[in-house]
């Protein structure tokens, strides 16, 4: 072979073509996505942890396709991560919504039609999310150049093989720095049962409360005496019998004898005298040990309330406020000791650094930073534009909340240090969501010419033939319309037959319309809302890396309940689930397309593969939820929520909102006023300003401040070393920060789950 002959590469196929869409990439994407989906569904239900997965899939893709198979090209790995994240991403939408049905005592099992209809609705949502967002790729990525920090980070990882040794080293340094920063923040999630002689030390370090320590000592005394108090054992006996009766009823749902027994046992349990701070699981375990069916030593379990000793974290550094005794009482003042445990409060916990308290700011001013390298990296990658997010956070937490507290607009029972939490729930979030909606409307209006051009370009996709036609790199409008139509039919079918179906009566705004028509209208409204919400979420994640999925999902459920009536919970949750899945898929697809743009992938291939595989996600998530519910039912007689291993924390938030809507507690006017402000903000410097400010009011300030540090760091580095340098070296380093935390969080949470 002459020197001038084209070089044969292992990244080309046997025919010499550049490896992009290959069987290896598709199989890798499906398998990695399915494993991540099931694992993160479980983690989300148990501890509230979710993860988009693109960064993890990119790293795994390198390991598997490039490392093990020794042939994965940059673009092949990109296809692998695109599919993996498409299959994985749906779980965050489903676990936020569907488990609420278990919490509200609806029966959802493989033999109920609602389970399958909800799965169908989620599949429809996934397809709609993808096809609705495709026409906006040109506007958001080509024209508006949204940054998509995580997608940019994934792009930097994928490009690392060709970026040169120095940049690869910078990327690795970023990962190492991220791991070093995050390790002491994440490690304490791993806990072991504490020994009795460690308790005093753990109380001093505020790892264990005095009550928990006292309870642990009591349990230890039972183990030593091999005897528990009579009341505890009796409660355990009744509770065990109740659990067994519930399991029996689950197997024979129509058995009146089981129903009667359950009622009797529930009444007996209620009538028993309280047993203090001992949980039901401990009572049952004590009963089992008393009966000789379990070892007494089995009571030494964190699950039963035995004190836990976490692995080392920042909190163990013991950085505290200096002690200032109260002149009147001689004890510590409330400002120094908020929890009144006679110790000055910690200013550095595992997850936050409270700079406000170090500086002595008033208690109602929350000025704490999250220890989150990903937020730092995302802020740096966003750069100057992210300052608007910081400004919104400052407005909400450093101006609005302290003023509201000072004016006496919060209940007298709210202490100064509780002001930020009160404000977040009562007005920051509703106003923030309103600002987001208004900002998004202005964003769409301002970008309308660009959207129109993008759609025109797509319409030409099937017809343009002359020379190089960039339009043929995109999916055309016809297939998108066909897929959207198919998904809409699926959603309509799911809606028409879910819950009471045709027998349901509309009691909301659609009161008086025939149920089939009412549900049709609701589906149409939901589809328009999905389109709009998809744009909001894609814009938010494009500009900042955060997306208010939970807030938008809550609004969907509220909207459906307003239309159909507050009793039609199944329809509301089903459409909420479809929307959640749709918007997560929309944001994920846009992020993947951005990564594809950075590495030179062909959008059409990514779009086709994402649409073809995205339906797998909801099936896996719903199957996993069903499996977990069945195991819980067998073990505890409760499908999900408190009393089980999977407390579904995010669904509990939705449950509160559903109860709020039913109780008429939603502050609709605040949403509206926020929307007006969001629209007006968008008239000025740039149309998406309302989105950024709204997002920052909606999110906890601790992440906004850390993110702001990243934005400012970008500006300082740009000023000192020049913009090109700040980009060239800052991007791989920040990609490392984002990926390092994601990988470590996944590893730590996997360990937590595996240890039970």
């Amino acid at each position: 072979m002459s020197d001038n002959a084209p070089k044969h590469s292992k990244h080309a196929t046997a025919s010499g073509a550049y490896r992009e869409v290959t069987i290896s990439a598709i199989v890798f994407g499906l398998v990695a996505g399915a494993i991540m989906n099931a694992a993160i569904t479980y983690a989300g239900l148990k501890i509230g942890f979710t993860l988009g997965g693109s960064a993890i899939a990119a790293v795994l893709g390198f390991g598997v396709l490039r490392g093990l198979l020794r042939k994965g090209s940059i673009l092949e790995t990109n296809i692998g991560q695109t599919i993996a994240s498409a299959v994985n991403t749906t779980n965050s939408g489903v676990i936020f919504t569907v488990p609420v049905l278990f919490l509200l005592n609806y029966k959802l099992a493989a033999d109920t039609k609602d389970f399958w209809l909800i799965t169908l609705a989620c599949i429809a949502g996934a397809l709609l999310g993808c096809v609705f967002i495709v026409p906006l790729r040109k506007q958001m990525i080509d024209v508006d150049r949204l940054r998509f920090p995580s997608a940019t980070a994934v792009g930097a990882i994928l490009k690392s093989p060709g970026a040169g040794t120095a940049k690869s080293i910078v990327l690795c340094i970023g990962i190492a720095v991220s791991a070093l920063i995050y390790l002491p923040a994440g490690l304490p999630a791993i806990k072991n049962p504490a020994s009795i002689d460690q308790l005093d030390d753990l109380v001093w370090r505020e790892r264990v409360s005095r009550d928990d320590a006292a309870r642990t000592r009591q349990i230890a005394s039972w183990i030593e005496a091999r005897q528990a108090p009579e009341g505890v054992v009796e409660k355990g006996r009744i509770s065990t019998a109740l659990r067994n009766a519930r399991i029996a009823l689950d197997e024979q749902p129509d058995n009146a004898e089981h129903k009667g027994r359950i009622s009797d046992l529930e009444a007996t349990l209620k009538a028993l005298p309280p047993v203090g701070a001992f949980n039901q699981a401990l009572c049952e375990a004590a009963y089992e040990a008393t009966s000789g069916r379990a070892e007494w030593s089995s009571l030494r379990s964190i699950e039963y309330g035995w004190a836990a000793k976490p692995l080392w974290g920042y909190q163990d550094l013991g950085l505290r406020l200096s002690a200032k005794p109260d002149k009147e009482t001689g004890g510590l003042t409330r400002r120094v000791d908020r929890d009144q445990n006679n110790q000055p409060d910690l200013v550095l916990t595992d997850s936050t650094l409270d700079v406000g308290r170090i500086l002595g700011l008033p208690d109602q001013v929350l000025f704490a930073f999250a220890i989150a390298p990903f937020a730092l990296g995302a802020g740096y990658l966003t750069g100057k534009a992210g300052l608007m997010v910081l400004a919104g956070g400052v407005l909400a937490y450093l101006v609005l909340n302290p003023l509201a507290f000072a004016f006496g607009w919060m209940p007298s029972t709210v202490r100064a240090d509780q002001a930020a939490g009160y404000a977040l729930n009562f007005y920051n979030r509703p106003l923030g969501i309103g600002l987001l909606l208004g900002g998004a409307i202005m964003g769409i209006a301002a970008a309308f010419p660009a959207i129109r051009e993008a759609i025109r370009s797509l319409a030409k996709a099937g017809t343009s033939r002359a020379g190089i036609t960039q339009s043929s790199d995109e999916l055309g409008l016809k297939p998108l319309v066909l897929i959207a139509g198919f998904a809409m039919v699926l959603l309509l079918i799911a809606s028409e037959f879910s819950g009471e179906g045709g027998a349901a009566t509309m009691t909301g705004w659609l009161s008086g319309t025939p149920p089939w028509l009412g549900r049709g209208i609701i589906v149409l409204v939901a589809i328009v809302w999905i389109w709009f919400a998809g744009i909001i979420i894609a814009q938010c994640s494009g500009m900042t890396d955060w997306s208010p999925i939970s807030g938008i999902a809550l609004l969907t459920v509220v909207l459906v309940m307003l239309l159909a009536g507050t009793s039609d919970v199944i329809s509301a949750v089903m459409l909420g689930a479809a929307l959640c899945v749709a918007i997560t898929c929309a944001a994920d697809m846009m992020g993947d397309l951005k990564t594809g743009y950075i590495v030179g992938g062909i959008p059409k291939r990514q779009q086709l593969l994402e649409i073809a595989t995205v339906a797998v996600g909801p099936v896996i998530t719903m199957g996993t939820i069903l499996l977990i519910a069945n195991v819980n039912l067998t073990n505890t007689g409760i499908a999900m929520g408190p009393g089980t291993d999977t407390v579904a924390p995010q669904a509990q938030a939705l449950q509160v909102v559903i109860s709020g809507v039913q109780g008429g507690e939603m502050p609709y006017t605040l949403y509206g006023l926020g929307a007006v402000l969001g629209c007006l903000l968008g008239l000025g410097a740039f149309a998406g300003l309302g989105v950024l400010v709204g997002l920052s009011m909606y999110l906890p300030i601790i992440y906004i401040l850390t993110y702001g540090v990243g934005c400012i760091a970008n500006m300082i580095v740009g000023k000192i070393k020049g913009r090109a340098w700040a980009e060239e070296w800052g991007v791989p380093f920040c990609a490392g920060l984002i990926v390092g935390e994601a990988v470590l969080a996944l590893i730590i949470n996997s360990i937590v789950l595996l240890r039970g």
Partner: protein
């Protein structure tokens, strides 16, 4: 002027959100008649402890109905406002503040729009300071970089040389000319309008994607793909030139 407009927007936004917060907080001074029958959406007042300080126990819990008796109790306890579930403009004395905030936001937006337009016009006329190369210059630089690369590739003797050349030159183009062209977005929008800019970026972005793909293929040592992408990028840049000068 622009700074003043930003300050106006900030002040108006603060005023707007503060006024909004009071929407569900009618003052007790409105009188019993307008407040009776409303439902509390947060606790109100606080029972005093033995030391005469407010305790954590509220006088009225969330969900309580406001009656004449309740309102008197709250008034006597010094409570000025209560948070209720129901909204009415008649119970929102600060609505005018919200309107002022809206007017301020509108005025600020108008000034910023005008200032931005003037700044872009100045920059387009070459009077801008430190704005970097204009879009035309940045685009010409990019075309020249790609053309030079194509020429130099012909004279490169080995595949390794060609791949190294592609990686180096395209990296440089990405960090300089492409970045500068994208940074000139406001000037291009003022010249072409949003629709015209979108049409321009349709081909430019396609060219940029081909450059990115050529880089990736070179990094993966798939030379023929990289060369093909560079040729396609050159054609697309030619098409973009037509739209830029139109």
């Amino acid at each position: 002027m622009k700074l003043a407009a930003f300050l106006l927007i900030c002040a108006s936004l603060i005023l707007g959100v503060i006024a909004s917060v009071t929407a569900y907080l009618p003052p007790l001074s409105l009188g019993h008649a307008r407040l009776e029958g409303l439902t509390l959406n947060a606790p109100a007042g606080a029972v005093l402890d033995d030391a005469g300080k407010p305790s954590s126990t509220p006088l009225l819990r969330s969900g309580a109905k406001l009656t004449a008796e309740n309102l008197s109790t709250l008034g006597n306890a010094g409570v000025k406002r209560v948070r209720v579930k129901e909204f009415s403009f008649a119970r929102w004395p600060e609505w005018w503040l919200f309107l002022i905030a809206c007017a301020g936001l509108g005025a600020g937006a108008f000034i910023i729009k005008r200032e931005n337009r003037l700044a872009v016009e100045r920059a387009a006329a070459g009077a801008g300071v430190n704005t970097g190369p204009g879009p035309d210059q940045a685009f010409a630089n990019l075309c020249a970089q790609v053309d030079q690369l194509r020429t130099d590739l012909k004279s490169a003797s080995t595949p390794d040389d060609r791949l190294r050349l592609i990686l180096e030159r395209l990296s440089e183009a990405q960090n300089t000319s492409i970045a500068a062209f994208i940074a000139a977005r406001p000037i291009l929008i003022s010249r072409l309008g949003v629709g015209g800019y979108a049409r321009l970026m349709d081909t430019f972005a396609a060219a940029e994607r081909q450059i990115n793909r050529a880089w990736s293929a070179a990094a993966d040592e798939v030379e023929h793909e990289s060369l093909t992408c560079i040729e396609q990028a050159a054609s697309l840049l030619e098409a973009t030139k037509g739209r830029l000068s139109a």
